[in-house]
Subunit: 471 residues, 3 copies
């Protein structure tokens, strides 16, 4: 098999003078601590600190980037051990799953998954050959052996990765036992939660009525009224701050729609959605109104408002029925921001005390809508390239399209948005390299002096994210 | 006049190390046979093997890329010999047409037409000066003389071009006389047809009712019923496979809309469109349903389903009235894929036995919709950049935007989609060069080892197209 | 503070061979006269030739590119001296405004504003250090002192900048006193106006009814009838040509919608909008019809028709209420051209005697819609990247996306669209550099011979704009 190497110049432009600049810029930021303000690692890992099981359960079964690619080329999800909703049979032999993955590893050529995985293989497990059918077992055994050692337990990895702070994401109804336990454990790792209220904000959410009832019970508020419902949110936000150290909320809506209803109209609308008597347009309106309500509360309590719109969730009915949500079948859709965000921005967008971080899966919006909006409204900042666009080309397009209108300082650094814990350093490293590559081009083309580019590189890596998320 | 040269490094990145890599990658694929799985060459050429007439009738009058550019700068289509629908007078002096073209050749600077034409001039006709007003006659005479020789007859060119297989496109009603004759001629050139049923699938098609009747007559099926209509399609598909060697169908719809109606609803809808009693929405629904029917038949008979949506046909009424269809006035439109393809993909998209090749004229869909869809659904593959985007920059954008999510292996190689026979090698050469240029960047930036890039280059040039189209 | 330098190679590709080509191409066009066919300089400057006041009133207060960036980062518009609609208090100390700007100058890193400003500082005022808090006063004093000298009066600057012709933009109702005075002054500077009739064409325009009445009074036409209204436009167009030297009209509509109503329907529609009794759709229809009317008049009188669609004006209600229009809160929106322009193009688009210059804020339309339209219709030409996209990356995307289908010769050179007089040479220089950088890549990749690239560079800089705008 071919040699596996992580070239020190990877992702830098090939042109020698530009590459030299990129090396210098990167050299000064590569070892900065990782701040991961938005992601989906499991807080139980850091609480219980149990070893990860094996290569397949760590790297394949939970990673929709990985298994969707295999699925797209005809591998059945059952054969990758993806659990069926009905509990029906799936591959239980994790070594067999790994072999299937290994023999199809060539499919990932040119994808960010390949870069992240190669980094994990080389850097974390010391592999020296590229993964393939021939060395699948060697990989599986080596990884399995390493995972059994103390150095690969979650807390040890957290420290080894140089993570200064990491945010997890929990439902508004979550009692946050792991965050509580981590804080009382004496371990110093900074693990904070994020308030994610979709289950009690989105009338289309599975079990919405039950969720509301539970929200009332947890908070002791009367969620039968609009005022009580809002109080319940305030209550939970406070709980998330106090128990989980939350500094941000997160909202994963199908669109970026916001609303600015009168209190009376909002009350009436809430009465309808609470009783399940609503049209799709009313559900949309309610979700939109709740973003504005959340902004209002953010001004009160200082939490950052994150909006992640634009995914058509669970596009493949068969996969949804058989395997459930989040199985690689979410597809981005065209997303309007200019009209959609106007109600919220008209109400609170000019308040510098508020920070809204907006993400997009529709790259066309970068130069047309998002950069002009962020380059005007004090409250609005641009989140980094997200999900499908968390990739070298995606990052390049983001900087090329957003910077000239929004500048660098209306962006908030990188976030990895991942539950693939081992890939976190690799992802942040890609972002640092790509930002330095972009800056190096500006320097090489005499569009920015190198000392200023160095300051920007530091801000993009560390300063802006810390400031925006108050971490 | 200035010297005409085809530089061996054309289209490769200028950065020397990257260019060296591109040269090596390209060196190993440049002489691979051409597989042209989708195009519009005339099968009569290969059947009758008659010489082409002259430079203007070969290179200008039939090429809408060429005459639309001249038209856009004020040259009248009549003066280029484009036939009028009413048979009215147009320029009959082909040498005069050629002179008009030659004196305006500078208009093509920076366009792919210029690259293709220069290749044809230099490589096929040995011209050594760039075309202009001064050497127009010399060009015209040299080309005319060459065309009269046996080496420029269609079969000789086919062999000289190294074409392993080429697909033409015929209407569902076509009796395929030329394909039949080619097969019985003993000539070994592989010329296959493609089943293009728009005329009997699209209720808005000119003469739809007559076409249906003709379909019934040809197949002996009762197209007065939905079942009979579907049987007629099955019959013709079989005919196209047996007589014309077809491995694929092709569908040129205004949008990517698909539908998945119940059999009863489909039957009712067919009854309406058959009688000409339908709304625009019903026409759209019927076209969409027929894509799903075609997918069902493809699973039965193994034919590849190609969807070419998104052109606003015949945008210029004056040109349509005076000169008819396909005169350079088709304009791409914004095209939705996520919602549009869901009915079809929900029904058959998870079946690895089916191959759907989807094309787009809306490049924004590459990263937002098409790569995520192709990177998930087993049945869906991405066709190459098409029509306006069959160009160096268009190809670059395709790889940059699609690869990170779909990988290379959910794409199907290049197709030229042309009736400009002489430009076929030039077009495939541009695609090979641009793919190698893209891969060279990945190698130079240490994102892919060179040996793997070489394998990918081979797949993009030869393996994937052969496999996807079963040629 | 760091040294301020304008590197002679700025904006050129870093790859040495390509850079050498860019240098040669640029060397031959850099000193060509500036033709500025569309912009918003104040004709009073050139008439009265009074000195500019101070650095803040020249460079900050009137420049929405500058103050919107500061506003987006929390600086209050009042603190930048932006006048309030209600005449309420704003910062009156221009030195204090300048200091605020200086300490936030780092926010502009990576933006075109930074490039333009650095050019102004270095080239016009001889500054040698980059602006910052420490040298704010030195800057303010140096600039103030220079502005007081005769060499910095408008006419002197016009001559120093090598401007061959500049177009201003005036409302259809403007009596053009300054243009008249300039012409009778004996000064040779070519300052022409542009006919901008939005105030009497857009039913949604503030004071539309009064504007119509005024139009009738000025022209002596009976604007109570459709025929009289059209005659009034003809009258004003003639006035603008005769008194102001106008060669073009300009239309800033929310969309690109056009219409081609019968004369009777247009008359009825005019009756409704004249009386203020219209729906939003009717307002849109009227604006669209007026573009077609303007095209008809352009064919009669030879004026170029410019369409600037796609901005959502005054997105921020608070800013609109407090500070009024044009305060950096206009946001681009997704814009359709294919359907929108069809009525107009169907009517007059095939007439080579007409020149329509279309602009876009929606870059996605370049390759999908605008290049195919301009690459077909004789009347249609593409305006340069505009407003948010008047930037290095914006210019690069324009050439990369538009050239392969529209060629170079369906574009019309650069225009600066600015009221920031001092930045005009910097903006034209950026355009020249970026065009040469793009052409240099084509040459370096052997896609265009250098001598042809040189001809194209000249056309993009000088020939095409002069020809398109008849200046």
């Amino acid at each position: 098999m071919a040699e596996l190497t992580l070239h020190p110049d990877r992702l830098f432009p090939a042109e020698p003078a530009t590459r030299d600049i990129a090396r210098r810029l990167y050299g000064a930021v590569k070892d900065l601590p990782i701040i991961s303000p938005h992601g989906h690692t499991d807080p139980a890992w850091f609480d219980e600190n149990q070893p990860f099981e094996d290569a397949s359960s760590l790297l394949i079964i939970p990673d929709h980037y990985v298994f969707r690619m295999l699925f797209s080329q005809g591998v059945k999800l059952e054969d990758l051990g993806i659990p069926r909703v009905d509990g029906g049979p799936t591959e239980g032999d994790h070594r067999a799953i790994w072999r299937r993955f290994a023999e199809n590893y060539y499919l990932f050529r040119g994808t960010p998954s390949r870069m992240w995985l190669d980094w994990v293989f080389a850097e974390m497990f010391g592999m020296t050959e590229i993964l393939g059918a021939d060395n699948a077992d060697q990989y599986y055994d080596t990884i399995g052996a390493a995972l059994a050692t103390d150095g690969f337990r979650p807390r040890a990895l957290f420290e080894r990765f140089g993570i200064e702070a990491i945010a997890t994401t929990e439902s508004a109804l979550d009692p946050l036992p792991h965050h509580r336990a981590i804080r009382s454990s004496g371990w110093q790792g900074k693990i904070v939660t994020t308030y994610r209220p979709d289950a009690v904000v989105d009338p289309d959410y599975e079990g919405f009525a039950d969720n509301l009832q539970q929200l009332g019970e947890i908070t002791g508020e009367d969620v039968g009224t609009w005022a009580g419902y809002l109080s319940a949110h305030r209550n939970r936000r406070q709980y998330f701050r106090e128990v989980g150290g939350a500094t941000a909320t997160d909202h994963g809506h199908p669109t970026a729609a916001t609303a600015d209803l009168s209190s009376a109209d909002a009350e009436k609308l809430y009465a309808k959605v609470r009783l399940g008597d609503f049209t799709p347009a009313e559900a949309e309106l309610f979700r939109g109104q709740m973003l504005t309500e959340m902004a209002r509360m953010s001004i009160e309590d200082g939490m950052v408002l994150q909006i992640h719109p634009g995914a058509h969730r669970n596009h493949n009915d068969m996969v949804m029925r058989t395997f459930g949500r989040d199985k690689g079948a979410d597809i981005p859709t065209q997303t309007d921001y200019v009209g959609a965000l106007q109600p919220l921005l008209g109400r609170y967008g000019s308040d510098p005390a508020l920070t809204i971080v907006i993400f997009t899966l529709d790259e066309d919006a970068y130069s047309r809508e998002l950069a002009p909006l962020a380059g005007h409204y004090p409250a609005l900042k641009l989140g980094p390239p997200w999900w499908f666009h968390d990739s070298p080309e995606g990052m390049r397009r983001f900087r090329e399209r957003a910077t000239e209108t929004a500048g660098f300082y209306n962006t908030v650094g990188f976030n990895d948005d991942t539950r693939a814990f081992l890939s976190i350093p690799a992802r942040h490293d890609v972002a640092r390299r790509m930002d330095c590559a972009f800056l190096a081009r500006l320097v090489a083309e005499h569009r920015l002096p190198e000392d200023e580019a160095q300051e920007v590189a530091h801000a993009l890596t560390y300063g802006l994210v810390k400031q925006a998320y108050k971490l």
